[in-house]
Each structure stands twice: as structure tokens, then as C-alpha cells.
């Protein structure tokens, strides 16, 4: 990895530092809230979800799309790199920006489930699947922002993926293979859980690989 890539990735983290810090802080607060009461649990979970989804949208929109509109992309491309180099650095940078808060908040959620006696440990697989879904979701939006220039198209991707969050919550939660065990005191890792996990990993890989394959073949970067 060239030093230029490292500089660019560091820059991405630096630019989004307040967003990341706020997300982590607010997310941890939500998890704490969820541990307090029934009501707190509902609000806390909703807040936790909203926070992660929000940064998942802001990062690609602001980091990629806005840069294109701002014409600061031209400045970036005048640096000693190719268009493909810059796209890769962007992708890595934004991925790290999302990964940091996502990982910490997911870990906090896992801890919440395991530590709180009021929350059955059977919820654990679902929490893990939800986390996995959220990062797969983010990578799809990131992929869309990297490959598309039309604002309308990108916003459509954002809307669709966000609708999927609700769909995920309803559908996956209702799948018998998962629903049956949510209330249990022991986490159950059955085939259904593994299948969903594999699908999530596949989607994630696809979303991250597609730009890496398509962008170097591009003939115009501006």
C-alpha cells in the first residue's frame, strides 16, 4: 500500500472524525438506555439501528457524491495517482470510517444481550445477523456511490437499501428457524442462521469487489 493511499485513508478518517465520534458516543448511549427498562430497551434499540443506518448513508453520500459535485474530485485526481487508485483509497477510507463505529456498537449490542439477564441469550444470533446485514447494506450504498454519478440513481439505492432494513427486521425475525429460538436462554446457531450469514457475506463481497473490477476498466474518471 503506497504512502499516498495511507495519506488519503487517514484524511478520510480525519474528515469524518466528528461523525464517527458522535456515532460511537450516541450508539453507546443507546445501548446503555436499552439496558435500563422495557421502554428504554425499545427506544435504545431503535436509536442504535438509526445511528448505524444513518452513518451508512452519510458516509458515501458526503464522501463520494458531494466530492464529485464540489469538483474537489479534480484536485484529488491531480495527485500522483490514477483514477482507479483514488477510487480504491476512497473505498478503503470510507469502509474504515464505517467499520469503526459499526464494530464498537455491534460489540456493545452483543455485550448487552449476554450481560443483561432480562434479555434472553437466544437473541444473540439475531443481533449478529442484524449487524452483518447493516454492514452489507452499507457496502451496497458505497458500491452504488462509487459506480454511479447520477444523483437520482444513488438516492434510489439509498432508499431501497433502507427499506430493506425494515424488511429484514420483519422477515428474518419471523423465520421459524430464528424466531423459535429468540426467547431461549442459550444462543442457537442452526442452518438457517448460517445460511443468512453466508448470504450477507456474499452480498458484502460482491459489493466490495464490483467497484474493484469495474473502475480500473473505466475510460473517464471525471
Amino acid at each position: 500500500m503506497s504512502s499516498l493511499t495511507i495519506t488519503l485513508v487517514t484524511r478520510e478518517l480525519y474528515l469524518n472524525r466528528w461523525l464517527i465520534a458522535t456515532a460511537i458516543f450516541a450508539g453507546l448511549l443507546s445501548v446503555y438506555l436499552a439496558s435500563t427498562s422495557q421502554m428504554g430497551y425499545r427506544i435504545g434499540v431503535l436509536a442504535w439501528l438509526t445511528i448505524i443506518v444513518t452513518i451508512g448513508v452519510i458516509l458515501p453520500m458526503y464522501g463520494i457524491h458531494q466530492e464529485r459535485k464540489d469538483h474537489s474530485l479534480l484536485f484529488a485526481l491531480s495527485l500522483p495517482l490514477s483514477g482507479a487508485d483514488y477510487a480504491r483509497a476512497k473505498m478503503l477510507g470510507l469502509l474504515l470510517c464505517f467499520f469503526l463505529p459499526w464494530f464498537i456498537l455491534s460489540l456493545a449490542a452483543v455485550v448487552l444481550v449476554l450481560a443483561m439477564p432480562g434479555i434472553p441469550d437466544g437473541m444473540l444470533p439475531f443481533v449478529v445477523l442484524l449487524s452483518g446485514f447493516l454492514i452489507a447494506n452499507f457496502s451496497l450504498v458505497l458500491c452504488g456511490a462509487l459506480l454511479m454519478t447520477s444523483e437520482a440513481l444513488i438516492i434510489s439505492v439509498v432508499i431501497v437499501t433502507n427499506m430493506c432494513v425494515s424488511l429484514f427486521l420483519f422477515i428474518v425475525f419471523s423465520i421459524p428457524g430464528i424466531n423459535d429460538y429468540v426467547q431461549s436462554a442459550v444462543p442457537v446457531w442452526n442452518e438457517v442462521v448460517w445460511t443468512v450469514l453466508i448470504v450477507e457475506v456474499a452480498v458484502l463481497s460482491f459489493a466490495l469487489l464490483l467497484p474493484l473490477l469495474v473502475i480500473p476498466r473505466r475510460r473517464t474518471f471525471i
Binding site: T7, D70, H71, L74, F75, S78, L81, R218
Partner: protein, 298 residues
């Protein structure tokens, strides 16, 4: 054989509504080339192809000897690119940009950068989004100049600048040329500036290079002759005559191949030469483009 600062040979690139066709351009170190053309002629596209931001459909592009876009990473280390539609990162300050650029390029001259901040009258701690057009243009130029690159590619460097800022910018650009290993390519609508500081001039119109040569040679070749033709006298068609416009008794003849012999020929054809005028670069440019368009229409 010195490596040219840049070379484009027979470059073509097709877009939906526009195409660059057979563009060939070359510049030697120690020279400034002014790149002039109407809006939409393809100036920005040409410069972007040069920088590897757009890949040509055909032809050869070399920057400081490096084939583009293949070796653009290496080439760009020694090249400064500033475009009038380029923006720096809005949320950061000029100081941040200076540190950013310094961390990427080893040739960054901090002392020169400080000097330029003073000369250009800039406040380094101001956020980019609060800079005026002129300040932003100067800031972007500063970031390129302080690296002392061997080649500067500038897309309309003085666009939107007030006369004072323009003067400051042109002065710094000329300073670059003190070093005869360095070169500058700049596109501009400001024919006065181009006429003054360019060594070579290239005219482009509708995706084609109309003419490219040494400035003094242009200024020497082109003339406007004010003629008085006797009744019934018509001048024969001739390749040296670019344009002939009649206004009552008086005829204005524009030529791009002026010689004393031509003047004699015209007189022998029955015309009285009232005046031989040199043409400004702007007049040459317009006449050249008009002729080019007429030829293409045929």
C-alpha cells in the same frame, strides 16, 4: 535530444455530442504554450486527456516522456495541474492543504510557499469554502507552484481574477520560466495575456487543432490590408487570402502568408494598398477559426 515537456500525437476521443479529432500538440522545456479556443472547442478535454483523467480512444500521449495513462502516477509527481473549475477540499484550510501536499511531494518548497502566501495576499487559516473566487484560484496555484513542478498544466488560470490578481499570477508564472527545464501549458480566453507571455500558441476549434506554432511567427505571417479596388476589379481567389470583406469602395483583405511579394501581386492585380496592419492575437484567432469553420462546412 531533450525530452519534450509533453507530446500528443493524433489523439482522438469521441463523446456523445462532441469529438476530439487528430489532436497533435508538443511543447519543449523552457517554453510556454498558450492554448486558445472558443468555449466547447475541447481545451479542457485535451488537458484532461493529457493528465490521464480521460483515456483517449486513439493516439499517443506522453508527459515528460512517460506514456499516459499508463505511467501517470510517476509523471504526475513532477506535474502541477490547476483547473478553473477545480475546487480544493471545502472543509479544510489552506494550511491543511499545504501540509497535505507537502506530505505527498518531496519537492515541496516551504520557503517559497510562504513567500507566495504573502505575494498572493492569502490567509492560510481561512477555510476554503470562505475564499473568494480569486483567492481560491491563487490558493490552488500556490499549491502547484510551491512544488516547483517541471510542467504546469493550467486550465484558464486567470479566469475570474481581478486585474491585480491576474498581474500577480502572471508574474509568478513567468518566474517559473527562469528555469529553462520547466514548461507551462495554459489555456485561456484572455488573448492579451496569451499574446504577451506565450512562446508557442495553439488554436483549437470544434475538437480540431486549427493551427499551432511559434508566436512571433504568427504575428509576422498575419496581416490585414486595407485596399481600394478600382471599378470592376476583382481579386482572384488565392490560398493566401483568408478573408475578403468589401465595404463600399474599400476592401479588407486578411492573409496568413504575408510577404512583400504578395503585396506586389495585389497591386499588380489592380488594387491600391492603403494600409498594411498587423493583427492582434485576438484578431488572428477569430480569423483563423472563421476560416476553419468555412472549410469544414464545404
Amino acid at each position: 535530444m531533450k525530452t519534450s515537456a509533453f507530446e500528443m500525437r493524433n489523439v482522438r476521443k469521441a463523446f456523445r455530442f462532441f469529438a476530439l479529432d487528430d489532436v497533435s500538440l508538443e511543447l519543449e522545456p523552457g517554453q510556454i504554450m498558450g492554448f486558445v479556443g472558443p468555449n466547447g472547442a475541447g481545451k479542457s478535454t485535451t488537458l484532461r486527456i493529457l493528465m490521464g483523467l480521460v483515456h483517449a480512444d486513439g493516439g499517443e500521449v506522453r508527459l515528460l516522456g512517460h506514456p499516459i495513462p499508463r505511467d501517470q502516477r510517476v509523471a504526475k509527481r513532477d506535474i502541477g495541474f490547476v483547473s478553473s473549475d477545480m475546487r480544493l477540499f471545502q472543509q479544510a484550510t489552506l494550511s491543511w492543504h499545504m501540509r497535505f501536499v507537502a506530505s505527498i511531494y518531496s519537492e515541496w518548497d516551504a520557503a517559497y510557499a510562504t513567500l507566495l502566501v504573502r505575494r498572493f495576499n492569502l490567509q492560510p487559516e481561512q477555510t476554503v469554502k470562505n475564499l473568494s473566487t480569486g483567492e481560491h484560484a491563487k490558493a490552488a496555484l500556490l499549491l502547484a507552484l510551491a512544488r516547483r513542478p517541471r510542467l504546469l498544466i493550467l486550465d484558464e488560470p486567470t479566469a475570474g481574477l481581478d486585474p491585480v490578481a491576474r498581474h500577480e499570477v502572471l508574474a509568478e508564472l513567468m518566474e517559473v520560466l527562469r528555469d529553462e527545464r520547466r514548461a507551462i501549458l495554459f489555456s485561456s480566453h484572455n488573448t492579451v495575456d496569451v499574446e504577451r507571455i506565450s512562446d508557442r500558441i495553439t488554436f483549437i476549434d470544434r475538437g480540431r487543432v486549427v493551427d499551432s506554432s511559434n508566436k512571433e511567427e504568427f504575428l509576422e505571417r498575419w496581416r490585414r490590408l486595407q485596399l481600394q479596388l478600382g471599378a470592376g476589379i476583382r481579386l482572384p481567389q488565392s490560398p493566401e487570402i483568408v478573408d475578403l470583406s468589401v465595404d463600399g469602395q474599400f476592401t479588407t483583405l486578411t492573409t496568413d502568408r504575408f510577404t512583400p511579394e504578395l503585396a506586389t501581386q495585389i497591386q499588380q492585380a489592380g488594387a491600391t494598398i492603403l494600409e498594411v496592419q498587423r493583427m492582434s492575437l485576438e484578431e488572428i484567432f477569430v480569423a483563423n477559426v472563421m476560416r476553419h469553420r468555412k472549410e469544414r462546412a464545404q
